[in-house]
Symmetry: C2
Subunit: 324 residues, 2 copies
Amino acid sequence: MSEISLSGAKVLISGGLGLIGSALARRLLDFDCDVLLIDSLNENFGGNLFNIEGIRDRVRVNISDIRDLHGLRDLLRDCELLFNLAGQTSHMDSMSAPFEDLEINCVAQLSLLEACRQINPRVRIVFAQVYGRPQYLPVDEKHPVQPVDVNGINKIAGESYHILYHDKHRIHSTVLRLTNTYGPHMRIKDARQIFMGIWVRNLLEGRPIEVWGGQQRRDFLYVDDAAEAFIAAATTPATVGKTFNIGGADVISLADLAALMATPSNGAIERKEFPFERKLIDIGDYFTDDSAFRTATGWRPRVGIKEGVDRTLAFYRANARHYV
Amino acid sequence: MSEISLSGAKVLISGGLGLIGSALARRLLDFDCDVLLIDSLNENFGGNLFNIEGIRDRVRVNISDIRDLHGLRDLLRDCELLFNLAGQTSHMDSMSAPFEDLEINCVAQLSLLEACRQINPRVRIVFAQVYGRPQYLPVDEKHPVQPVDVNGINKIAGESYHILYHDKHRIHSTVLRLTNTYGPHMRIKDARQIFMGIWVRNLLEGRPIEVWGGQQRRDFLYVDDAAEAFIAAATTPATVGKTFNIGGADVISLADLAALMATPSNGAIERKEFPFERKLIDIGDYFTDDSAFRTATGWRPRVGIKEGVDRTLAFYRANARHYV
């Protein structure tokens, strides 16, 4: 494929009003991109119109569900670059409402790829993916993907379609498997997007942070680093047809993370044992080997966990009312 | 779980009019099972009413599609044992009609498991699965499942749901990953079920067998051995929640298999190079390590390729008119 130039590119972001989508939109404006955001604003997902406060008059927004193929086809027709970030992210919801997860994370992904194949086969696609429970650490790309919930199974199918449509239909797709991504504009109403969201809310509202377990070590990817990873993937032809892991700057235990977040404001922390049904789908330790992506693109995460958490808490101290 | 006794058991077989389903039905009658066969008789799949010729008055048949959840729920309600064999099997069709494959091999499987969870959580399930392109040989259960087509992706999701519903919802499911299964009652109209089908048809109709490539080595599972494997799985509690490979008695190259089939009747063989779009989804060599299943159940394949091919050709010499 030819080199993608971001400058002035027509870009579509599905899930564009979410945590990563809105950060990406903001960054793409630096390259004078023509940015179209699609988002369902499904109340259980990560989309929030306040996430584009300040850039709202510089992007186009189309509120629709990626399950609506008819509308999507028209929006896809002349886009050059598709950041495909829409998804149902809640592991718990995927177990209680498995068909909604299936429709969004699996069926709609196949619909979208079929639409691209039929009407816009030259579009460049970067797809966001997640992992299940790791068998060894750090998790590299050879690690078998072991789903521990319906969400995991459907996300694997969605990822596989993207790679298959490259291999068989020459669609220029790249899959990025992200570790826990956090930052300003994440969902804090509950833990549906990331557990750190509900921690932030509890801290701000004077309730203790509930730490389930606490020994689990994880890496955390600051949202601006995630956005840069998507841009690096889209503009590096060598990433086409491949799957890469994207990790965070630091690995930290959940207990230490809770202390980092609560201590500055004298917030309380409550350590808890997992109840049975949550333990079944907890993934335990998780951290990433993203050396393949660093080598391919030169990208690396730049925002450490301390700085990222400080920026995040500062954002929600000013703006929490738009998120709860 | 408690030991399953086959004697008099209420058994449902989805895809019950197909190659394996009908052989299994016949065998289950030896145990006085109450056998209900569900089959869509979709003209592109393997179902054929002639497959139950001779036992038709001893089984119940319900012509319906497993995508029809309402009908399925009622049929599932009091079954003790479910052999879940219904599926879209054509790799080529899965690429040209990806949504039908998705609905049957993925969506309907989740529907069926949800129905079991809700109305019959004690049912014992054995699910049939297939593999993609192998990375090493023989293929054991640790082998990563690498889909090479839409069918492969959806079958993996279907398999994963079965294991997940065991792990999380205590549904008693076992997954059997079958190698190429053949024998009397297979589809011979075309290569949609197995390429050996069209070879049989061409031989009988005086046309040459077309061998694409020919060096590929495969193992072949005779249908009665496959049926015994399903019965062994269902009656061995230690197989619950697990995935097993099921191989055939012999490994043979496609060129040698063609000779084995054509020589007795002086049939012609035509060696051909793969056209581009077929090579993309051919899986090359494939043979199985099924030692885990042999150890767990005592099962082993008993019908060698020579005997199996002879029986198969004899069956179609007498009955081809019901299959073309």
